[in-house]
């Protein structure tokens, strides 16, 4: 093998690993964001959920999910073949010819596995403060092994959505929308937190306990997103791809910035104040918006797309709250509603995309995830129950599920 080919292979592999590590770091971001936005009595449990779901996602995706999403054999464009465990690393013999792999197979797995963990992290926040820990982890098991990989196969594994021309660069649909729909179905079956909606129809805010945690969580996600979108170019080792990766970094950053400002101004317009949690959600909304197509827009356009996401997320959070869909961290709005926006914006800058196919892709992802998740949550509800007891909810799930308090010295009332 030529030294230059090796070097190029090495650079792409290293780039992939660095990007993957950044995406892994997003797990910490979700954990902190959620820990900041729940009440202190539910904090240890949400942390436990976050680290456990990450571990489960890694194991299940290694066992079966990865092969399902990128199958060696496919049964139909809808149904991938199934096989267990990871295959071997590329052999040096394979390193010839035009379609020789240009990065390590293990680095590809690494990059992919942190994506499924991201999708699953979206779910934990929406069902926080009331769902049983072990029921949640049971869902995570099946979601990361089957539900996510199968729809992932449709697009990124070369299934029917890919064939149809559906465009989703880094996963506004495959990752974010899919996670959000799973979260939404969970919330539907679970109901709102006690005290969230008054008998008289009033909406009672249940403020999160720790804003600095929510803020650092958001900054972590923002940083990690460079890996998420930047790595999705898959190659960096030549002139064109290097430029593409750089453009993606810039656009990702600009969209987040646009989201922050738009969300802040929207809130200011309505209430005259600067709601920090909306600014944070605005950043994330900007990021989700651009994820569907972070390469084609100019930086100025990326800022505007992000801003659109920032406005939409505020509207969506308020609307869902009015509809009594109780999502303590806004995950359904940020990743679901805004994820759809991102997908529908693609045709504006990417001529390979069209609105019909984008809508079809959304329908497919939503349909599949909604139905399978609903069945799965339903089964878990029937067998183990989804929700902790009323008394446990009042006292906080930290004590009943984890037997530990997140801030044992500080809390006295609440």
């Amino acid at each position: 093998m030529e030294q230059i080919t090796e070097l190029s292979y090495a650079l792409d592999t290293f780039y992939f690993l660095v990007c993957g590590a950044l995406v892994m770091w997003m797990a910490a971001g979700f954990a902190m964001l959620e820990a900041g936005l729940v009440r202190s009595k539910n904090t240890a449990e949400i942390l436990t959920k976050n680290i456990a779901l990450f571990a489960i996602a890694c194991i299940m995706y290694m066992l079966v999910g990865y092969n399902l999403m990128y199958p060696a054999d496919t049964i139909t464009p809808f149904i991938p073949g199934i096989s267990l465990l990871l295959g071997a690393e590329h052999d040096v013999a394979a390193m010839t010819g035009d379609d020789a792999p240009y990065y390590s197979a293990r680095s590809d797995f690494f990059f992919q596995v942190v994506f499924v963990a991201t999708a699953m992290s979206i779910v934990s926040g929406a069902v926080a403060e009331r769902m049983k820990l072990w029921s949640f982890l049971a869902f995570a098991l099946v979601f990361t092994a089957f539900i996510y990989p199968i729809q992932g196969y449709w697009k990124w594994g070369g299934g029917f959505l890919d064939a149809a021309g559906f465009q989703d660069f880094a996963g506004s649909g495959v990752v974010h929308l899919c996670g959000a729909v799973a979260a939404f179905t969970g919330v539907l079956l679970l109901g709102a937190r006690k005290g969230k909606y008054g008998a008289n129809g009033s909406i009672n805010p249940l403020p999160g306990a720790n804003m600095p945690l929510a803020a650092i969580g958001t900054f972590i996600l923002w940083l990690g997103w460079f890996g998420f979108n930047g790595g999705s170019q898959l190659v960096v080792s030549n002139f064109t791809d290097a430029n593409a990766v750089a453009a993606i970094f810039v656009n990702t950053n600009m969209a987040a910035a646009g989201g922050v400002i738009a969300a802040l101004l929207t809130v200011r317009q309505i209430w005259g104040k600067a709601d920090l949690t909306m600014a944070l959600n605005g950043a994330l909304a900007g990021l989700v918006t651009i994820t569907a197509e972070p390469l084609a827009p100019t930086p100025a356009l990326a800022t505007l797309f992000g801003a659109a996401g920032g406005v939409l997320v505020v509207a969506s959070i308020i609307t869902l709250d009015r509809l009594k869909v109780d999502d303590p961290v806004g995950a359904i709005s940020v990743h679901g509603v805004v994820g759809m926006l991102g997908l529908m914006l693609v045709p504006l800058t990417n001529s390979d995309a069209n609105f019909g196919t984008q809508a079809m892709g959304i329908a497919a992802i939503v349909g599949w995830t909604f139905v399978t998740s609903l069945i799965l949550w339903g089964l878990i509800k029937a067998i183990f129950g989804l929700r902790v007891g009323e008394q446990e909810e009042y006292e906080g799930v930290d004590i009943s599920e984890c037997g530990i308090e997140a801030y044992p010295e500080f809390r006295s009332g609440s």
């Binding site: 005290g195 009042y394 006292e395 004590i399 984890c402 037997g403 530990i404 308090e405 809390r411 006295s412 009332g413 609440s414």
Partner: protein, 112 residues
């Protein structure tokens, strides 16, 4: 004047406040406390060691009132704070010999 001190379950605070408002009680001072009593604490687990947390979060309300509303106030707290389950809390009453509004220096019932 009487000083009524009620120790109640935290989530009952709003209900009590609203109930008292109906008796013209529009001032109170609230403290976060921990209670120990018949209601058993819960078991916690920390790094492999289980232990009992005896002290349960409660809220203490102090209310200075005029003598003639005492019974109504006790009744009202009992009703609004009660769940019928152990740990609902206590009401203690003691005599107040003086009450002063700092802002104006007024004293006696008018200061409450």
């Amino acid at each position: 004047m009487k000083l009524v001190t009620a120790v109640i379950k935290p989530f009952k605070l709003d209900a009590v406040r609203e109930a008292l408002a109906q008796h013209g009680v529009n001032g109170m001072t609230v403290t976060e406390v921990k209670g120990f009593g018949r209601q058993k604490g819960h078991t916690e687990l920390y790094r492999g060691a289980e232990y009992v947390v005896d002290f349960i979060p409660k809220v203490r309300i102090d209310i200075g009132i005029e003598d003639d509303v005492l019974d109504a106030v006790i009744e009202s707290i009992t009703t609004s704070a009660g769940t019928g389950k152990i740990g609902d809390g206590k009401i203690f009453v003691s005599e107040l010999i003086q009450a002063v509004r700092i802002r104006t220096g007024e004293d006696g019932p008018v200061a409450l």
